[in-house]
């Protein structure tokens, strides 16, 4: 225990920017994003993969940042809510969530938005049942999910119209 904390230097792209940092090998990806890079939009609700608040996009797939170590992100491209939001690719979802008040405290919202977007980019049909299934793995304690399902369904319709 008295030996110095082991560190390793990692390089990854976060929201399109190359980052090279020395991190403790036991540090989670979520703590790396929040505490080292200051990207606090990734939230920690349970640190065991149950609540989904820490969801980020890693090499195109949604992952739980609390279940990965920062050293596992070496060489990866990570996108957080800040990057996804700033790029504008969540704009329609964000507007639908805003208009329907599909969030209250907002703590779970970053993860839900990234999962919802991934769901909508999938080819499978998105009815209310499928949306509820797709949100499994996310806990929202404020809304009862109804408005979230409304907002995602509405966005799905709009995207289908635009694509069509």
């Amino acid at each position: 225990m008295t030996s110095p904390e082991p560190f390793r230097t990692i390089t990854c792209r976060v929201n399109g920017i190359a980052r090279t940092e020395a991190v403790p090998v036991r540090m989670s990806l979520a703590d790396f994003l929040r505490d080292v890079l200051g990207l606090t939009g990734t939230h920690l609700g349970c640190e065991e993969g149950q609540c989904g608040a820490c969801t980020v996009v890693s090499d195109g797939a949604t992952v739980r940042a609390c279940l990965l170590l920062a050293v596992q992100a070496d060489g990866m491209a990570i996108e957080t809510i800040e990057g996804a939001s700033d790029s504008g690719r969540l704009k329609d979802l964000q507007e639908a969530f805003y208009a329907r008040s599909a969030l209250q405290c907002g703590f779970c919202t970053s993860g839900i938005l990234l999962t919802a977007d991934a769901m909508l980019r999938d080819d499978r049909p998105v009815d209310r049942r499928a949306i509820r299934e797709g949100l499994t793995g996310h806990i929202c304690r404020c809304t009862g999910y109804h408005a979230i399902v409304d907002a995602i369904a509405e966005t799905a319709e709009q995207r289908a119209t635009c694509d069509g």
Binding site: G38, I81, E82, Y98, C105, T143, H146
Partner: protein
């Protein structure tokens, strides 16, 4: 006031501006606040439900890298006062003194025993793991039914009964003796906890030069914490500042004083450094307030016509080893003893309650505080009585709802108004109950197990000073607001109510904008800062709009009068002939604009001589408000649940859930709807699977979100909402009723009644009165297990 109903910013489905920031990942929760020099705290927590601390060896831990300080309960006891939730309302209540960290004896699994402060959280946790404690385990007290007879966990109190209560209306015993029928059932309510997604968090920063403590924390009641931290740490109250930035949910569990948070503040004072503590989920499950563990024996008496003549309850309420501070635990018992039978007219009520200590986590207030118990007991007994006497449960209710007001219940409560007649009317207009019954019947003929049920509920909101204030507790039932006219003609509103996501700020902003004839965007809100906002209660008991909104409205109306007076001086018109609309002073008859508010504001700030030499323009106004002439405002509603039971697995599938609700003047229906839906989800979750389980040694089993199940999207149906017409208020003010707990109050009761309707239809005689409604319990009731 007459034009309040005019369309526009008041009464509109207005979204919440702050959510744009949250949706962009730009929240500012307590753990997001940058503090580069802050140290991190971690706690050693008792692994036992009940154990003597024989010795604590901290030497190895203190020597670990990064460790700055390590303090045990005994270390803190000299400098940090103990706390006890006494109340002058019940001076006979046994209230043990609690310490920030356990001294000598730990009394629940998870009680904080020592705190380590280190340069990082990980290193603080390393040091916690290196503390060696010699424990001498003592007997656990876990079963509510036997807690009163178990050896006292506080030997100096000589008993595990904190308080015994009895009440009976005149002639109650005779009413039950003379009843044509008495139906009796025993209800078992499960321990639950709030599970806000942001765990509790605090960042304390003490500056010794001025004796100033600045605390950022995730809390519902910043002013309360200012008072308590100052008192318990021996600091000057006006030099303690609490700010509550974005709060990631609270639901009642963030309205108390927690020993671990007090220890963090004490560590900051001792070290003269900023110290941060963010509970992880495992700690939250061990140390957040839990609630609602009751065993209730309950009776309903009927006369030969099926009219309800009496209710009686005998409650055992099992709390943790201490009473939650500063509020005490009386709320749950009181709700049961005042709200049982609330929707209905009846003659007699009798009740007993015992609050008993046990060696489980601290218990206290969670969304709805006891209301769901009263609603469940009432509504399930009516269904049972209807079944037993072959009566229609809906007609039985409709015939007996209270229709004339004010109404004094034999429980001792006076209801100025309730809206059950309106709610039943709205329910009938929305859904045909016979049609639902027919659909359920058809499904049953097809071999499925379906049931439907309703529950009528009352939500007491916006509570006055009649309990905490009267009890000598520093818990404010008032709120205040300051509104300031800025030189730009915009308004800054400082309000003592707080925002945890309900949309409080938006509602208050709507009221201020409406009073001053401005677009909402021209009003800026400041909340959650004890240094700038007036002292007030913050968020508890569904009070933000009914109390805080009223205060802001009153302040804005004072400022409005001053603005119109100033405008009158400028335009040579009587103020009564003027109005404020869309950022302009206008002629109230013609609506024609006379002067822009921005121009008037600039003049008042920089050229006040324009208004003459005999008056100083007053550009801020303040008001404070707390209910005086009634103890609470009651919201009313009905919930309807349709459920299917899977006969193979015993699982419940919610086919439909509907809420009819009445809440007086609604400022923002969008936010009201979402509050109710969120409340329903928590009520259904509690009824379905939320359970703070303990083993027989008193060790917590529900230590993570894989072991404490809360509803996910797939577990819930769409939640339908119907708004009922509002009967008039006769008291002062805007007539706003709180809505934060309504959904939670009636959801479980409606679901329980639906389940028992389904079970009854299978031909069995078994009903279920124990929560949560687990598959095992359902299968047992079906006779499968």
């Amino acid at each position: 006031m007459g034009e309040l109903g005019r369309p526009g910013v008041l009464g509109g489905r207005v979204p919440v501006p702050r959510t744009k920031r949250l949706l962009a990942g730009r929240g500012r929760y307590t753990s997001d606040i940058a503090a580069p020099t802050a140290l991190a705290a971690a706690f050693l927590r008792s692994p036992h439900a009940h154990a003597r601390i024989v010795s604590i060896d901290t030497e190895t831990a203190k020597a670990l890298p990064g460790v700055v300080a390590l303090m045990t309960g005994r270390d803190l006891a000299d400098t940090v006062a103990g706390f006890a939730a006494t109340t002058a309302v019940h001076p006979e209540m046994k209230v043990p003194l609690q310490r920030a960290l356990a001294v000598d004896v730990a009394r629940w699994h998870g009680e904080p025993v020592a705190v380590v402060v280190a340069d990082t959280r990980a290193r603080a946790e390393d040091a916690v793991a290196a503390i060696a404690v010699a424990w001498e385990p003592l007997p656990a007290v876990t079963d509510p039914a036997t807690a009163a007879d178990a050896p006292p966990i506080h030997p100096d109190l000589g008993t595990n009964v904190a308080l015994h209560l009895e009440q009976a209306s005149d002639g109650a015993a005779a009413v039950f003796e003379c009843a044509d029928r008495v139906v009796e059932r025993t209800f078992s309510f499960n321990r639950q906890t709030g599970v806000p997604m942001e765990p509790r968090a605090i960042l304390a920063d003490f500056d010794p030069n001025e004796g100033r403590l600045q605390v950022v924390m995730s809390h519902q009641c910043p002013h309360q914490m200012q008072v308590e931290f100052a008192r318990l740490l021996g600091l000057a109250q006006h030099r303690v500042r609490i700010t509550t930035p974005d709060v990631g949910g609270a639901f009642g569990v963030k309205q108390q004083l927690y020993g671990d948070e007090l220890a963090v503040a004490a560590a900051s004072v001792a070290l003269e450094r900023p110290v941060r503590f963010v509970a992880d989920r495992a700690e939250a499950m061990l140390s957040d307030i839990q609630a609602r563990e009751h065993v209730v024996g309950a009776r309903i008496a009927l006369d030969e016509d099926g009219a309800i003549t009496g209710f009686a309850v005998d409650d055992v309420y099992a709390i943790g080893p201490y009473l939650q501070y500063p509020r005490s635990n009386l709320g749950e018992c009181r709700a049961l003893m005042t709200l049982t039978g609330a929707p209905y007219g009846f003659d007699a009520f009798a009740a007993t309650a015992d609050i008993v200590f046990q060696t489980k986590a601290m218990a206290g207030h969670y969304r709805g505080v006891g209301h769901p118990l009263a609603c469940t007991v009432t509504e399930a007994l009516i269904d049972e009585a209807a079944r037993a006497s072959g009566r229609d449960r809906i007609e039985m209710r409709k015939a007996q709802i209270v229709r004339s007001f004010p109404h004094r219940s034999p429980t001792g409560v006076v209801f100025e108004r309730l809206a059950f007649a309106e709610c039943f009317e709205a329910l009938g207009a929305k859904v045909g109950l016979p049609a639902i019954a027919a659909e359920v019947e058809d499904a049953r003929h097809a071999g499925r197990i379906l049931g439907w049920g309703i529950a009528a509920f009352v939500e007491q909101t916006a509570r006055g000073p009649g309990f905490y204030g009267q009890g000598g507790q520093a818990v404010s039932s008032r709120d205040g607001a300051v509104v300031r006219l800025e030189p730009s003609g915009t308004i800054r509103c400082l309000s003592s109510v707080t925002e945890q996501g309900q949309g409080t700020e938006t509602g208050v902003r709507q009221l201020v904008a409406r009073a001053l004839g401005l677009p909402m965007d021209d009003v800026e809100m400041i909340t959650g800062d004890t240094a700038t906002t007036p002292h007030g209660g913050g968020t508890w008991g569904s009070r933000a709009m009914a109390i805080g909104g009223q205060a802001a409205w009153d302040a804005a109306m004072i400022l409005r009068a001053e603005i119109l007076r100033l405008a009158g001086l400028l335009t040579q018109r009587p103020p009564e002939a003027l109005d404020l609309r869309n950022g302009n002073v206008v002629d109230s008859e013609t609506g024609s604009a006379l002067i822009m508010l921005a121009d008037l504001a600039a003049m008042a700030h920089f050229q006040h001589y324009q208004f003459g030499t005999d008056h100083q323009p007053q550009l801020s106004a303040s008001a404070e408000y707390g209910p005086l002439n009634q103890p609470f405002r009651a919201g009313t509603g009905i919930q309807l649940s349709v459920v299917e039971i899977d006969p193979g697995t015993g699982q419940l599938v919610l086919l439909r859930h509907l809420v009819v609700h009445e809440a007086g003047r609604v400022v923002n229906p969008l936010l009201v709807d979402e509050q109710i839906r969120g409340g329903v989800a928590q009520g259904l979750g509690a009824a379905l699977f939320e359970h703070c389980a303990y083993d027989e040694d008193g060790r917590a089993q529900a230590t993570s979100l894989s072991r404490y199940i809360v509803p996910m999207a797939i577990d819930l149906p769409d939640i339908e909402l119907v708004h009922a017409a509002s009967p008039a208020f006769t008291d002062d003010g805007l007539g706003i009723v709180g809505v934060g707990e309504a959904g939670t109050v009636g959801a479980g009761a409606a679901l329980l009644n639906a389940v028992n309707d389904a079970l009854a239809a299978t031909g069995g005689r078994e009903s279920v009165f124990a929560f949560p409604l687990t598959p095992q319990r359902i299968l047992a009731a079906l006779g499968v297990l």
